[in-house]
Amino acid sequence: MKRKMIRSVFMLFMLALFACQTDDAFRGTELEGLPTTDFTLTDQHGQPFTLSEQKGKVVLIFFGFSFCPDVCPLTLSKWKQIEKQLGEQNSEVEFVYITVDPERDTQEKLKTHLAVFSDSFIGLTGTPDDLKTAYAGYGIYREVVKVSEGAAGYLVNHTSRIFVFDRAGNWRLGISNDSSVEDMVHDIRLLLKG
């Protein structure tokens, strides 16, 4: 009888330990030792934004374009929900959207587009060279596909992964944009804990 009780307590202990470990593990893909490429681009208000100056905050970066009706706004919708769930911790997180369509995404366009979701999201564009630095640094796939005549007649296929940087400015995680809001909030909170 006593042995049975000891066994049960031991199993409960192991289960609790397993649960704790699972909760402390990232749900996105951990990227160890990958170099962080710094860049400076311009935000939707005309202010410069440099990645290395965001140390102290957790930074999420998504590459998208405002012309995109589906996956890009879906990601921004998720970010909006994340922002809500983070509550006060939100001031320690930056949500950064870098355009893959600088021809059509002017600062004003990014401003109008992002304001639909949140005034605190940062929309970046820049010179072709500066954007190239950011794209190359994070291995961004970007392909312009013509779908009809005229300047409005193209789409941009692109990398949809979300890049996450810790408070020290290290590139720490890659999160699939189809991850749940709960999983993303979980990983952000883990990074905020430190």
Partner: protein, 173 residues
């Protein structure tokens, strides 16, 4: 000339027979349709994500039309409760210049989107979901902002079922 009772009764019977024959013909035509397996399409759960158009003001002077263009999206379920397939061939709406059927395909972490020019076939008994990161209607060149709670008209065109007019409700993004 006055009809006798027999003639009146005969006419009444003839009229009843006439009605029964007409009713039977209607019923038969319905049955024939079902036997031939006509499609029965329903467009359900139609919604759009909010989108803000650019204000045509001095602030945007010098912007090209492509830079001013803002797009929207429509998601819904297509249900075919009939006995044969049908095909969604086109969609239009007064809120945009052009509406196109598109599909997003995710390959690893790459997002590709392409127009579906041949339309989308809905097999009998099937439900096809137009949903985020999959099939969707791209509303190109919105004429007005899509604000949460707003309801706007959409016209779906099917190869066999013809036109179906429905409404989309704009959701908070």
């Amino acid at each position: 000339m006055r009809m006798n009772e027999k003639q009146v009764r005969g006419r009444a019977v003839a009229r009843i027979v006439q009605y029964v024959v007409i009713a039977a013909m209607f019923t038969a035509s319905g049955c024939l349709d079902q036997k031939a397996g006509a499609p029965a399409i329903a467009v359900e759960n139609v919604w759009s994500r909010a989108a803000e158009t650019m204000q045509h003001s001095g602030e945007h002077a010098g912007h090209s039309s492509a830079q001013m263009q803002v797009n929207g999206v429509v998601y819904f379920d297509l249900h075919n409760r009939g006995g044969s397939p049908d095909r969604l061939v086109a969609v239009s709406s007064p809120v945009c210049t052009v509406a196109e059927i598109h599909r997003t395909v995710m390959q690893d972490d790459r997002m590709t989107m392409r127009p579906i020019k041949d339309g989308v076939t809905i097999p009998p008994g099937a439900k096809i979901e137009f949903k985020p990161a999959d099939y969707h209607i791209m509303l190109l060149g919105l004429n007005e902002s899509l604000t949460p709670g707003m309801v706007f008209e959409l016209e779906f065109e099917f190869e066999l079922s013809g036109k179906i007019v429905t409404k989309s409700t704009v959701r908070t993004p």
